[in-house]
């Protein structure tokens, strides 16, 4: 269980509040207008922002004092998911050891996930030599290798075209299934929410609503979401 207990955050007159629980293994879309607090929600769970009050707990353990890199969390950002000066293999290897002193077994694991995301033979290339879709695959390969129980995605595929995005969502689904991950994915696109997540969290003006079934929410949206969707 991922528990957000009485989370409160004040920033420049913006008030953020969340109080909810998420089942392990759930796939949840996070949707809402720009500036409503979607990224804030992910940043607090990921440990990049400390709440003024309340706590984040995973399986009953309070994460407040745990640094971002030691939380049971993998994070995919909007961009800058790869270090441009490191090779694909190194970028993925960081998921196993942040100092990259990998043993032979670990190096084999890296090659293995590279093959699994369809990038065989590319481990010595640098990110700039890859297409946008391939770069997303590299980031997903690292998620697969780290196999953390919580996966947070902040619109990581927003820059990809529709076909590529669908492909990435499918790959993401496979990886989430294989690692039993609880997934929270911020998205601007209701279609992403429908295709990937059976439940959706609506964030509106700093208020985080509990997860609701995606289809119901999108078919009879509350006023804030309706305005956002343009209905």
């Amino acid at each position: 269980m991922l528990d957000l207990r009485g989370l409160r955050l004040m920033r420049n007159g913006f008030q953020f509040a969340a109080d909810l629980s998420i089942e392990p293994g759930a796939r949840i879309a996070v949707i809402g207008p720009s500036g409503s607090g979607k990224s804030t929600l992910l940043s607090v769970i990921g440990g990049f922002l400390a709440p003024d009050a309340g706590s984040v707990a995973w399986q009953g353990a309070d994460l407040s004092a745990v640094s971002p890199g030691q939380r049971p969390v993998s994070f995919l950002f909007q961009d800058q998911n790869l270090f441009p000066h490191l090779t694909i293999g190194q970028n993925i290897g960081l998921g196993l050891r942040p100092d990259l002193r990998l043993n032979r077994r670990q190096r084999e694991d890296v090659e293995h996930v590279i093959a699994q995301v369809g990038l065989q033979g590319m481990s010595t290339r640098r990110p700039a030599e890859l297409s946008g879709g391939q770069q997303s695959r590299v980031a997903l390969a690292r998620v697969l290798l780290r196999a953390r129980p919580i996966l947070l995605l902040d619109e990581p595929f927003a820059a990809l075209g529709p076909a590529l995005k669908a492909e990435m969502l499918k790959l993401l689904g496979d990886i989430a299934t294989r690692t039993d991950a609880t997934v929270l994915m911020v998205t601007h696109d209701p279609a992403d929410a429908r295709s990937f997540a059976d439940r959706t969290i609506l964030v509106d003006d700093g208020k985080v609503h509990p997860p609701a079934p995606t289809n119901e929410l999108l078919e009879s949206p509350p006023p804030g979401l309706r305005a956002y969707l343009g209905q």
């Binding site: 400390a50 971002p68 890199g69 969390v73 998911n81 490191l86 960081l94 100092d99």
Partner: protein, 514 residues
């Protein structure tokens, strides 16, 4: 709370550097102030030095900024082969050892130089390179290129659309000057004047070699003389207080004005205003040619005189060379480490106090720091043992503000771009330094380290104060000059200049290739 302690521990390096820097500089200043016990030790001679320091700096700054205007305008509106190279060369005086330039100026403007030969030939009196006019001449030599680059930047900051609009409205050159160029110059010139004024305020080497006497002694030189010849620590300290007050005053003044950055980039622009034809074209050519001759002839003269002599240099010169290179490398390493630790913490915490600590060296002058360190350490260490370590340390500290200017913006964008990714992957400590920080900051770090190495290599400030039987190369050069062994001194100058440029090039290039 726990995370607060954790965060503090991770920022410890930067905070420790800032604290050490503040302790070093404020501590030495306190030692100077305590030793001085007010300004009563100052005699009328010393007040003349204060007055000379101010007016020569004001005059040097006005001449540098004023003469730079026509040259910068010529560079802005003309395109010719070699233009990019010339503009790049204008950045070189920043790392040219002062004593080398002085050798060059003596070669050209000295008694037997080309200028005086010509003056004698036409029957006009001689120009003496010694005295106040020599001091001002040398300051213009160093600061004219800097001013040209900064004004050129101002010119390039005028959108090219404005010039096109001016053309379409049928503006003549006078109209363009009035509506586009003068407003820009009014904006940039005060800042440039002040930047040069600040540099000339703490001038030591130039005054040491070309000035002196009642009419041409700067405060820095007076500190040196009080310390070295009169061994009057109280007076040296009182002069140090005056020097600090002067620097502080100028810094406060510069806070109120938008000051120009220390070294302009001013490179190429593909588009730009089209220069007017006719006599203005000839005038621009004269401006560029005159500036180029003024800057290149002295260096060329030193090279011509010194290069053939290098193989015959006495062994003690080679010993001094080796000593200088070691000292410069140590100094540059200290500067790089301090700069990196400070820049990373400043980028992370955006703490104004830390940034202020990094800029503290601008308040202190090398001679004031040297005097203060001597006052604090004289009871514990022999003066001869102090010379090289203190020189390495002070040069590292003095290079910090310039290094930080290059490194802080880079560290900030590194943090903005990859900070969260590295945090989320738990990259900390040495692993983060090795895999992320050093590779990504290699270019600005290489530039800063190269700058520090070149400045330390060419420095003749603190080492002259402590002058020992173990001279550095610039001090050796100065000693050769003083014993009128000018050919040997020229050879030394060529050597010193080559090594300074080579050190800068090696680090800068190495950083960009990494």
């Amino acid at each position: 709370m726990a995370s607060g302690v954790l965060a503090l521990r991770r920022d410890a390096a930067g905070i420790a550097v800032a604290a050490a820097l503040a302790a070093l500089i404020l501590g030495t200043l306190a030692a100077v102030a305590w030793q001085a016990r007010g300004l009563s030790a100052l005699q009328s001679w010393d007040w003349r030095a204060v007055w000379f320091t101010i007016w020569q700096a004001a005059l040097s700054a006005a001449l540098s900024a004023g003469l730079a205007v026509p040259v910068a305008r010529a560079f802005a509106r003309r395109r010719f082969p070699g233009r990019a190279l010339l503009v790049t060369l204008l950045g070189a005086p920043f790392i040219l050892p002062v004593i080398v330039a002085i050798m060059g100026l003596i070669a050209v403007f000295g008694r037997t130089g080309a200028i005086n030969e010509a003056l004698r030939a036409v029957g006009i009196g001689e120009f003496s390179v010694y005295g106040w006019q020599g001091v001002v001449l040398a300051h213009v030599f160093f600061n004219l290129p800097l001013s040209i680059r900064l004004i050129l930047q101002g010119w390039q900051s005028i959108p090219v659309e404005r010039f096109r609009l001016a053309d379409s409205l049928g503006f003549g050159p006078a109209d363009t000057a009035r509506h586009l160029e003068w407003p820009m110059l009014r904006g940039v010139l005060p800042g440039i004047w002040l930047a040069v004024f600040l540099v000339c305020l703490t001038s030591f080497t130039v005054a040491l070699a070309l000035g002196g006497g009642p009419a041409a002694t700067t405060v820095e030189l007076a500190i040196y003389q009080a310390f070295r010849f009169d061994f009057d620590l109280g007076r040296a300290a009182a002069l140090g207080l005056v020097q600090i007050a002067l620097s502080l005053g100028a810094l406060v003044l510069s806070r109120r004005m938008a000051t120009a950055v220390a070294f302009g980039t001013g490179l190429d622009l593909a588009h730009g205003p089209v220069g007017p034809r006719g006599w203005r074209r000839a005038m621009d050519a004269v401006a560029i040619l005159a500036a180029a001759l003024f800057l290149l002839c002295p260096i060329g003269a030193v090279i011509l005189q010194g290069l053939p002599r290098i193989p015959d240099l006495p062994t003690e010169v080679w010993a001094a060379t080796l000593r200088s290179i070691c000292m410069a490398l140590i100094s540059a390493s200290i500067a790089a480490a301090l700069c990196l630790a400070l820049a990373l913490t400043i980028a992370k915490t955006s703490n104004g106090w830390l940034e202020a600590a990094g800029m503290l060296p601008l308040v202190a002058s090398p001679l004031v720091l040297g005097t203060g360190l001597f006052i604090m350490l004289r009871a514990h260490v022999a003066i001869d043992d102090l010379a090289l370590p203190v020189t390495a340390l002070i040069n590292a500290v003095m290079a910090l503000p310039f290094g930080l200017r290059a490194l802080i913006p880079a560290a900030r964008s590194l943090r903005a771009d990859y900070g969260r990714l590295a945090d989320s992957l738990n990259m900390t400590g040495l692993a983060r330094l090795r895999l992320l920080t050093l590779p990504r900051l290699a270019a600005p770090l290489g530039f800063s380290t190269g700058l520090a190495a070149a400045l330390a290599m060419g420095d003749l400030g603190v080492i002259a104060l402590f002058a020992t039987d173990q001279p550095t190369l610039p001090l050796k050069l100065y000693q050769l000059m003083n014993s009128y062994r000018m050919t040997d001194a020229s050879a030394c100058a060529v050597l010193l200049m080559s090594i300074s440029f080579a050190l800068f090039w090696l680090f800068d290039r190495g950083g960009r290739l990494a």
